[in-house]
């Protein structure tokens, strides 16, 4: 009934390692937990009613709505793009595959400001298509369309990066088997491919959504900061902060922080419950 004793050296951390663990815990507390307390502390510093008033402010409501709208367009599109890209890369051999992989990663390695700026260069008043757009009265920059485009570009890699390693790992044999059994390509996709990647897809969508709602740099460039019209929640925080409306700024920031916490909980749940169906690098 006794469990064989393990050598102590394997189970107990040596002194230095314990010290390092403690040090990183302190750093985490200062860098991560403290700001979180500050955000909520300052948001509620003038009382709950003031907090509520800041959140119910028409500009704040407009910012929340805009943020949700942008995410509601950008995230599903990037889910589709991500599935399509991962499908091509994982299931087929073709020339230029590694170039495509690099391209997918580009938004990760590029400053978000650049991701915003490219749209201004293309569609801004002085941009390539600027004159044509003005002549036809199409507004992209300083409008919702621009925000959506900038968000799509910045968040493009999340779903694709999550799916590619998993789908490469799974190979194309199951789909091939489905075809030999008489399934059409579309049936194979709906009944075999999609169920096999559902949790990883959800995981990618979750990360994509968190970034889409929290993105600041790229949307800042294309937004123009028109209050109540083109300010998403992160931009709204900046606007209020620059106005010295600290309660308002932190109240809006607390919404973003809550989104972060919800994402974290969902993400951890997925990692815990469906580890086997996520990409290998997400398994614990």
């Amino acid at each position: 009934m006794t469990v064989e004793a393990r050598p102590i050296s394997k189970t107990r951390l040596p002194g230095l390692a314990a010290l390092l663990v403690l040090a990183s815990a302190i750093v985490m507390a200062v860098l991560v937990l403290a700001p979180l307390f500050v955000v909520f502390g300052d948001a509620f510093s003038k009382g709950f009613s003031k907090y509520l008033a800041s959140i119910r402010d028409p500009d704040a409501v407009a910012a929340v709505k805009l943020t949700l709208l942008v995410a509601a367009i950008a995230v599903p599109l990037n889910a589709l793009f991500g599935i399509a890209a991962a499908w091509c890369i994982a299931k087929f051999e073709f020339r230029g595959k590694s170039a495509l992989l690099t391209l997918i990663d580009l938004p990760f390695s590029m400053s978000p400001v650049v991701s915003g700026l490219v749209w201004v260069l293309l569609f801004g008043a002085q941009g390539w298509f600027g004159t044509w757009l003005i002549d036809h009265d199409v507004k992209i920059i300083f409008a919702t369309t621009g925000l959506v485009l900038a968000t799509i570009l910045v968040t493009f890699p999340f779903v694709a990066r999550e799916l590619i390693p998993l789908m490469q790992d799974q190979g194309a044999d199951e789909e091939a088997a489905a075809l030999t059994l008489g399934a059409s390509g579309l049936t194979a996709f709906w009944k075999i491919t999609l169920p096999n990647i559902r949790w990883a897809l959800l995981y990618g969508v979750l990360l994509c959504n968190a970034r889409a709602m929290g993105e600041f740099g790229a949307v800042s460039v294309v937004s123009g900061h028109i209050r109540g019209l083109t300010t998403t929640l992160p931009l709204h925080v900046e606007v209020l902060y620059n106005d010295y409306d600290f309660v308002g700024a932190f109240a809006a920031a607390s919404l973003l922080a809550s989104l972060g916490l919800v994402t974290l909980v969902l993400k951890t749940t997925l990692e815990w419950r469906h580890a086997g169906e996520l990409s290998a690098n997400r398994r614990h």
Binding site: E174, A176, L179, T180, L181, G182, A183, T187, I192, N196
Partner: protein, 370 residues
């Protein structure tokens, strides 16, 4: 004949009788991946209900050929006909081939029963059997593969051998016109392999379909198949019954591949074969001039050191029951010979000088000096 019918012991055994019609005709099929030629001008035929093995080392093109038959690869050139029909113009889903993949490719998110039912459920509405028919068919197939109680399990909950049988049941569910098996025993341990081998042959006989199966295991191919096609580097080297190819390998590669081989340089002149100080009648249609002589290590007879044969010096002896393994030096090369029971020379021990005679030497032209 439906596969789930009870075994019949009448005499319509679907052996590859010479009279049964050709069902599969592969003509001049070539396929390359980039600059790598996987198949080079391969032509072969299989008769109706024949059990054909594609045998070769890895990279020989056997799996590519199987995938061409399934429709998963398109050949660059050549023709494949099945039952007289142009098979290459048919998309995968219309070929009705049952394929068992090397790693089974079971649908991991479906139960065993759902896996088996898949091929029936994806049929077009008017061809689709009713739910109760599907259930009956799944039950029949589960009992055919002896997994009656495991219908509700998921593939991850099964052993390798069980998964393999599920894959086979799933392939049989669509009543395939041809069964394709890619290294069906590749991932199983030796014990399970042997058990499943006989059983697979029974399933083939009962299902009454043409079966093509890929393996790199010569014992498996020789044991199971009606005919064996040996491939190397994308080319068909030899096609014949297990006995034909084993008794009469087309070239040194096939000889080597089909079993343990001993080889020595020799010479054929005027109907006589000379190897070192041993001379014998040359085999029929042996090439003239310098040759390579092959023989199986268990197809030799032993004589005392002053008799006739190849001079051999015994280096080591290992007896296991009636079988004796004799390691000996012939012509400066070390060979491991096998003798069974009475065939073993008396009093064999390290240091002893012997004479050995290959009982059925095979002679191939010596390779040109590089």
């Amino acid at each position: 004949m439906p596969v789930n019918s009870p075994p019949t012991d009448d005499t319509d055994a679907p052996g590859p009788g010479a009279k049964s019609p050709l069902s599969l005709e592969i003509t001049g099929v070539s396929k390359s991946f980039g600059r790598f030629p996987a198949l080079n001008d391969v032509s072969l035929q299989a008769r109706d209900k024949e059990f054909l093995a594609l045998l070769g080392p890895s990279g020989s093109g056997k799996t590519t050929l199987l995938r061409v038959l399934a429709g998963l690869e398109r050949p660059d050139a050549g023709e494949v006909r099945f039952g007289g029909e142009d098979f290459l113009s048919l998309p995968v889903r219309q070929r009705r081939v049952g394929m068992v993949f090397q790693h089974y490719a079971l649908f991991r998110h479906m139960t065993v029963a759902q896996n088996i039912a898949f091929g029936l459920k994806v049929r077009r509405r008017r061809e689709r059997p009713s739910r109760s028919e599907v259930d009956d068919r799944v039950a029949d197939l589960l009992s055919l593969v002896q997994l009656e109680d495991l219908g509700k399990r998921f593939p991850a909950q099964l052993s390798g051998g069980q998964r393999q049988r599920v894959a086979l049941a799933r392939a049989l569910a669509i009543e395939p016109r041809m069964l394709l098996l890619d290294e069906p025993f590749g991932a199983l341990d030796a014990q399970v392999r042997r058990e499943l081998r006989r059983w697979l042959r029974e399933v083939h006989d009962r299902a009454g379909v043409t079966t093509v199966f890929v393996t790199h295991d010569q014992e498996e191919a020789l044991d199971l198949a009606d005919r064996v096609a040996i491939l190397k580097g994308g080319e068909l080297i030899q096609l014949g019954t297990p006995n034909e190819v084993y008794e009469n390998p087309a070239d040194p590669f096939v000889y080597d591949f089909l079993g343990a081989a001993c080889r020595l340089p020799g010479m054929v002149e005027g109907g006589r074969l000379t190897v070192a100080d041993w001379e014998a009648k040359a085999p029929k249609d042996a090439p003239q001039g310098p040759v390579e002589v092959f023989f199986r290590p268990d197809e030799v007879s032993f004589a005392p050191g002053d008799g006739a044969g190849l001079a051999a010096e015994v280096k080591a002896v290992a007896a296991r029951g009636p079988d004796v393994r004799i390691e000996c030096l012939i012509e400066g090369r070390l060979f491991e010979l096998e003798a069974h029971g009475p065939g073993a020379p008396a009093g064999v021990a390290p240091g002893l000088a012997l004479r050995i005679k290959p009982m059925r030497p095979k002679v191939y032209p010596a390779p040109a000096p590089a």
